[in-house]
Amino acid sequence: MIRFENVNKKYGNSVILDDLNFNIEAGEFVVLIGPSGCGKTTTLKSINRLIKPDQGKIFVNGQEISQVNPVKLRRKIGYVIQQIGLFPNMTIEQNIGVVPKRLKYDKKEIQKITRDLMEMVDMSYEEYAHKYPSELSGGQQQRIGVLRALAASPPIVLMDEPFGALDPMTRATLQKEIANLHKKLKKTIVFVTHDMNEALDLADKIVFMEHGKIVQMATPEEMLANPASPLIRDFMRKSALAADTLNLTAADFLSANVISVQKKKSIRECTDLMARHHIDSLVIKNEDQTYAGVVTIKDIKKHGKSSGVIGEIEPYQNITSDILENAKDSFDKLYSSGDNYVVVLNNDQTIAGIITKTSMATAMADTLWGDMQ
């Protein structure tokens, strides 16, 4: 799909791209990574002719791109940048429709595309399509930035640190979305980052660059197992989740001081307990200490009576996870379920603790601190 043959680029005397040779297959999610200034952006911009190499050839879809009209070429390659670059004088729908309009799609079609794309990232067309970019949050703006790049169904999408300016929570959500979009739409994606976690999470293949050269091009697993240079090893170690993630389990992230009660506890005692601990739900245990479910303050209100025991209320079957389960799977559950936490169970179905978004963040910060000293 994309092939570099002996591509060289210099600015003055400094070599920026040093004889690059690589090949990206159709449908691959390739992440370019490396220290700042190693030539990632230059490589990316060579693909849509925003930068012209001094020597060498780049092929896109079999065609040598210096032979292709740059405007035509770019309309078939989506482009997403860190600064987002939505047009402030256009509505969200007009922004998404920029390329389709130039390719003479009709109005109805553009509207349908906008609607479908927005649906894919859970943004309501009715609510947002006619707003201006400045009315959206940074995360929403970059979602639109990504959709705009996809609007004319280009087979290739280039992304230059698209999530680099977003807060970690938003970044995580958008990473998940882009992974989903890639799965659904089967685009060839070339994605620049300097964040190894992001690379490991998203890439089919990682291209590690240094001083304008490719040091290693490999799958995330290969790169984790056999980093080709000390610098790559260093990048891996610095990334909080990297090497460790694979063996981290739910146990590493749970918060053990969870408030749980037996079914025979009186409702009044339960509400007192909730008030005292400023929580809005309790984990309920059976006689034998095994997990029964979760009762929220809402459930109690609905129940009406404050006499009687908590076991009379049908508990909610909150999402659970096994204590030995891979931490990442537990996070995925937490995010996709919509529940406020994951209840982590021991092998014998007793309650080990819960994973909340906060406990997860704290544990990750610990991992980071541990690494930095």
Partner: protein, 201 residues
């Protein structure tokens, strides 16, 4: 002093501003697009404005002879600077991410200018037009010395005949005209800026 003289003055100002925009906007765009001629273009319009207005009109009389066209040509040259300058600065200061996104998505240079860059730069450009307008109201007084008419005629007549009333009424009319233009155009610009939702302005 009657209304026709005020109208004559307004006519001079209007024609001047229209022609200044027609000439100045493309020059500003040129300075933005072509770094190679940028310096010389910006320097030239600046130089024009350093020539005293009266001297400039005098020079043009020699070329064109006296009359309204002479006046308007002179006034246009004199009011180019704010329009050229603000067009250039307005386009130049559009966020680089916006420009790069436009280019990277496959918009042509002209398309980018028309669909994105000029609309975003417009509040700045319009400010240039406002400055040119208000300045022209005053400078157009010199028109009378080269047969262009307008309120300058009233003031000169007042000076010649030592008629205080004439001088004051001419001057006050000019001041009112300048202030009205200023206020009106500031108001329009606010409306426009709101319309384009450009946070920068």
């Amino acid at each position: 002093m009657d209304a026709s003289i005020v109208l004559e003055h307004l006519y001079l100002v209007a024609m001047t501003v229209i022609f200044s925009v027609i000439v100045g906007l493309p020059i500003g765009v040129l300075a933005y697009l072509k770094p190679s001629v940028r310096k010389i273009v910006l320097w030239s319009v600046e130089l024009l404005q350093t020539i005293p207005a009266l001297a400039l009109l005098g020079l043009i009389i020699i070329a064109l002879g006296p009359g309204k066209m002479t006046v308007i040509t002179g006034l246009v040259l004199y009011s180019l600077l704010p329009i050229v300058h603000n067009t250039f600065v307005g386009l130049e200061s559009v966020d680089s991410g916006i420009k790069e996104a436009g280019k990277g998505m496959g918009l042509t240079q002209l398309d980018r200018l028309i669909s994105v860059e000029i609309p975003l730069a417009f509040p700045m450009i319009f400010t240039g037009i406002r400055i040119a307008t208000v300045t022209t109201v005053g400078v157009a007084v010199f028109a009378t010395s080269v047969g262009g008419g307008g309120l300058g005629k009233v003031i000169y007549q007042g000076i010649r005949t030592q008629n205080m009333n004439l001088i004051v009424s001419g001057t006050v009319s000019l001041m009112i005209m300048a202030v009205l233009f200023d206020v009106l155009m500031i108001w329009i610009n606010r409306r426009l800026a709101k319309g384009t939702r450009n946070q920068a302005f």
